[in-house]
Subunit: 466 residues, 2 copies
């Protein structure tokens, strides 16, 4: 094989970069094929590309040194947490160094009076919640997977109780990042609010590693509520279930979670978990507050559900019973997967104004039926955000095409309803093609920022910017 | 007088720009001295600089045309709302065109089911609340002045009930802006959350007109609570008052407002409003919820206050009584001003982690006493944000120097406590000198973004970036 001059030069510079990084990290850099492959592929059907090497860093200064070396040789740097992202965020289409941040897993400082905590990016959300539970505090964002908080920050993660507690956008107070030029930047101080200049924190939250590597995060915490109540409530239609959620919010019920599962979901769940739930659109809800408060919320919700033809509302306040309920909700992915053995699954998400949610879900359901696709729908109704879980055989070009066309229609349908092609999964490499349709000239602004802060395009190239 | 070639060239280009703008706006551009002076000075002691002309625009397209003309001639564009900002945001140190947005005062679209509203930037917060009250909705951000929502967005405004409802950061869903290159950008769509690329909305919120002119804003709305209760509670010390606020939050009381006034404030208030409140540190609080909920919050708060040596807690749920209470709170500025007739007032603000608030307030109080300055302190305790109202005679260089030195110490004290030099007033031209101390290398990132998006530095030059 004859290699081009460019290829030889690239290989040489990659080798030099790896040699320089090895001088710093010693045995904490790997070029083993299995390690590289594992770091190039996320949990979706995205085929993935491997990095040239994987560097296991221990602290901010090591991140800085690796970034400086990669900048010198113009080699891509791709931050890696738990690899549970869903749009190819951690894949390495141009090779480079995957920066594994899992060794950086220390909780650095808890300030119970200020309701904040500072963590390294490799701390996972479950690890954090274990750590702070004794102090009566919790961190609410729950995207399902036990993701790293660095990854959750980088992808602006969200989840089941965002309706009450917000997303990573609202819950990151400040962060430290190594920028493309090797500078260490702390985006804000620990004050709860600030009007001091551009909101660099929010710029980095959701930047998917394309502007810098996040190495410390200061997060907002919340007090564990005195009382938690949860329940399931069947509805005659997706519309009535959505209307119930809207009415709740309208009446000021501070609902903590409100999850819609469609009838396909319920069917799968009954089979998988041996349950006897009605196979109709169903809301899984949770209320947080005082004893009196949650009781009042339950009464209001029950009343609303009944008015809309739903119910009965089956609820529980005991932790064990609530545990079972949310276990069923969290099992839904496996329940669905069990219906389609042997195929690769593919979760996608969109988000529309709540008033459009029922319409969007219904149209999507008809679209699935029309094209013979199996895809249960579940959604965070309070936010207008929903997921479709699809299955596809990568080796079947007809199926791949049908799936891709469905995904395109779903994204464009949401955008047409003044929504977004992704409520919480992110753009990664998978959804770049929708960004222009969604944000028009805003994409040029993003591109200008990217070019200004990363002129060599070394930070996670091939993501977000089309 | 002999003018330099540069001055002549500048004058010519300003005249040409004004001529071209006049061709579009006809009589809606003014070069009258009084109009220019009025648009160059905010409500603080900042002496201000006048623009070369004031353009009264009616819509986004006119803003775009004015920006395009100013870009062609490299003339500054300074957006102007109600002129109630406090750090010289609207002053025009390099002349240019002040863009008066008050004609753009339409509420464009209310979506009650989605709890959002789209407004033009000249709509004020009171005007908006009048408009939506019938639908059982309200917009919570209340910075005191009846500011324009465009200005509030541009300065990331906040206020008394941010502790519960957040600031403009959390309540702007998306916005439309004319960028320095004349492009019209809509930063996001109407979905409640999105993970689609960089958070351009948050980048523009708080950018103080230095990146673009905001011409439409989509805001989050909230349901008017079923029950509102408010009251005053005296405390033996600033510390015990702060501890009461912290304990409330820790116990999960969703307190809507919690305002600290120090004894100086109370003295002024008693004199001004003929009240008989105890002249000790006092909390003004407000609770929102159901009837049962607010009653429960009152009980919890009373219990906490008593435990900390405070009380009795005097509360009211009738709108008339609550009105009187908050009137007193809002009168505090005038009450203080009446103590120092004939001097210019000067409000400043800082924000620290709540755990540091009592210490910061106490140190600031001692600092004022030591330097013989009169400066009542009032604060949004739930956020760690507080204000000092100072008085100064511009013509007395000794007093000016003492005031400026106090302001420097206050900002640096807050930064040393891991806080910010401004919680809600913004940087403007007045606080640029503290930005490096607060954010270090973050300032270089801001500068890069500014240069990338406004390479000719025409958008409100001389603000934010030191």
């Amino acid at each position: 094989m004859i290699m081009s001059v460019q290829t030889i030069e690239r290989r040489n510079s990659v080798s030099q970069a790896i040699a320089e990084i090895t001088a710093i990290l010693e045995d904490r850099i790997s070029i083993a094929q299995t390690v590289r492959d594992q770091h190039g592929k996320d949990t979706t059907w995205n085929p993935g590309h491997s990095p040239d090497a994987v560097a296991f860093v221990n602290n901010t200064e090591e991140v800085q040194k690796v970034v400086q070396i990669c900048s010198k040789y113009e080699i891509p740097v791709i931050p890696y947490g738990t690899g549970t992202s869903l749009e190819g965020h951690i894949t390495c289409p141009y090779g480079g160094v995957s920066l594994d941040l899992n060794n950086m897993n220390q909780v650095l400082e808890v300030n119970p009076q200020d309701f904040d905590v500072t963590v390294q990016p490799g701390v996972t959300r479950k690890q954090l919640n274990e750590y702070i539970r004794d102090q009566g505090l919790f961190f609410p964002i729950d995207p399902g997977a036990d993701a790293s908080l660095g990854g959750m920050t980088a992808t602006r993660a969200s989840g089941t109780n965002a309706v009450r507690y917000g997303t990573m956008r609202e819950n990151v107070m400040s962060l430290t990042a190594v920028m493309a030029n090797g500078e260490i930047v702390r985006t804000a101080r620990r004050a709860k609010k600030s009007a001091a200049g551009y909101d660099l924190t929010r710029l980095m939250v959701g930047s998917e590693g394309t502007l810098g590597v996040i190495t410390e995060i200061c997060l907002k915490l919340h007090g564990i509520p005195e009382s938690i109540a949860a329940g399931v409530c069947p509805f005659p239609s997706v519309k009535s279930a959505c209307d119930a959620a809207i009415a709740c919010i309208q009446m000021g019920v501070p609902i903590a979670r409100v999850e819609l599962m469609d009838s396909e979901n319920l069917k799968a769940l009954n089979t998988y978990s041996n349950l006897k739930l009605k196979e109709v659109p169903t809301l899984f809800v949770e209320f947080h507050g005082t004893e009196t408060g949650t009781r009042e919320q339950i009464d209001t919700f029950s009343f609303i559900a009944e008015e809309l033809g739903g119910g009965p509302f089956d609820w529980a306040t005991k932790e064990e019973d609530r545990g079972k309920l949310w276990q069923a909700r969290h099992d839904s992915y496996w329940a669905i997967k069990a219906q389609v053995p042997g195929k690769e699954s593919l979760g996608t998400d969109v988000c529309v104004p709540i008033s459009k949610l029922a319409e969007c879900v219904e149209e999507t359901r008809l679209d699935l039926e029309k094209h013979g696709l199996y895809g249960p729908i579940l959604g965070h109704v309070g936010d207008g955000n929903f997921h479709v879980v699809l299955f596809c055989d990568r080796d079947d070009p007809v199926e791949v095409r049908a799936t891709e066309e469905f995904l395109d229609r779903l994204a464009m349908r949401s955008i047409a309803m003044d929504g977004t092609c992704t409520g919480e999964h992110g753009i990664g490499s998978g959804k770049r093609k929708f960004l222009e349709a969604e944000l028009g000239s805003g994409v040029a602004v993003m591109r200008s920022i990217k070019q200004a802060l990363d002129p060599k395009n070394i930070m996670n190239p091939g993501k977000i910017i089309p």
